[in-house]
Symmetry: C2
DNA sequence: TTGTGTGGTTGCATCATAAAACCGAATGCC
DNA sequence: GGCATTCGGTTTTATGATGCAACCACACAA
């Protein structure tokens, strides 16, 4: 996407997230990583993407602290890519994307899988946004405020 | 990005969402639309993006049923772009992106805003994933299952 | 030593992107 | 009505990210 207008310096947290995750492949790589994939070849086989692009993406994700390279694991002297806590923290994003598709896709019958809780095997609930006191919030009931000052003990 | 490997036919709901939302600008346009922007020029000013790209993105979002064009509203004979229910349904995705940035960004002090509930003015809670019975779920406590058969009244 | 599989990198053609010029229609000003 | 300006895009052009395939380096095996 040409010069890509990096959002890195932007003050909007959404833009900042998109700067790390907002390309066509990164979230899918993370999805597979959450699923347990670790090796270059595994990602390449599963996603069917070009290997050079995969290499670039993996390096970018490592640079962003989303993946880390582990020296090895199964004997073979190659390296693996494992999710960091930051990487695992994208889980709600993936769930939100999944649920949006489930709810609004024009051809929901083409969706092959559902997300269930492992223990009971039943579909998970929709993500919901709640206020600090637990009230359910619609978008209209929210607003953004300037970030409160750095709060240096000033009470 | 050349031929862009459209995910439209993919069975993964995440890929399907990314097909509609997964470029650099669409989610930011939607963010501004949720914020109340409606006019071409408003988007262009606020986002500072190239106008041709904005035009392409707006048309794509309309084609995807995320935005709709309204004939006018404030007298001037121009058109507006308003969110459809499908478009408003992206709200959790944006919240998830925001919260991920808030939690994991390397320079959180550069984030300018917080999302609060309008009534109390207090920051919202983190999105949380719960099982059907209300248990909080971690990623590891979930799994994906093949979609149950179309369920044609078969009990 | 040769062979094979993994894990990438390098070239190259193509196409999406970004920036700016351009353009018609609508609006404002007189 | 005439003229300039703004709005809402489209066109043009340069750039560079993408996808594909070929290539390379290394590990391991025979």
């Amino acid at each position: 996407m040409v010069k890509r207008t990096s959002f890195e310096g932007d003050a909007c947290p959404i833009a900042r997230s998109l700067d790390a995750l907002g390309d066509w492949w990164s979230l899918l790589i993370i999805r597979e990583a959450l699923f347990g994939l670790r090796r270059f070849g595994e990602f390449q086989n599963k996603l069917g993407m070009a290997r050079n692009i995969l290499a670039v993406r993996l390096r970018a994700l490592v640079d962003h602290g989303i993946l880390a390279t582990a020296p090895a694991s199964d004997g073979s002297a190659y390296q693996e890519y494992v999710l960091t806590p930051k990487g695992r923290g994208t889980f709600p994003i993936l769930v939100a994307l999944r649920q949006w598709s489930e709810e609004f896709d024009d051809r929901p019958e083409e969706i092959a899988t559902v997300l269930v809780d492992r223990e009971k095997g039943r579909p998970v609930k929709k993500l919901e946004l709640r206020a600090a006191d637990g009230r359910l919030l619609t978008p209209a009931e929210t607003m953004v405020k300037p970030r409160p000052a750095p709060r240096r003990r000033s009470a």
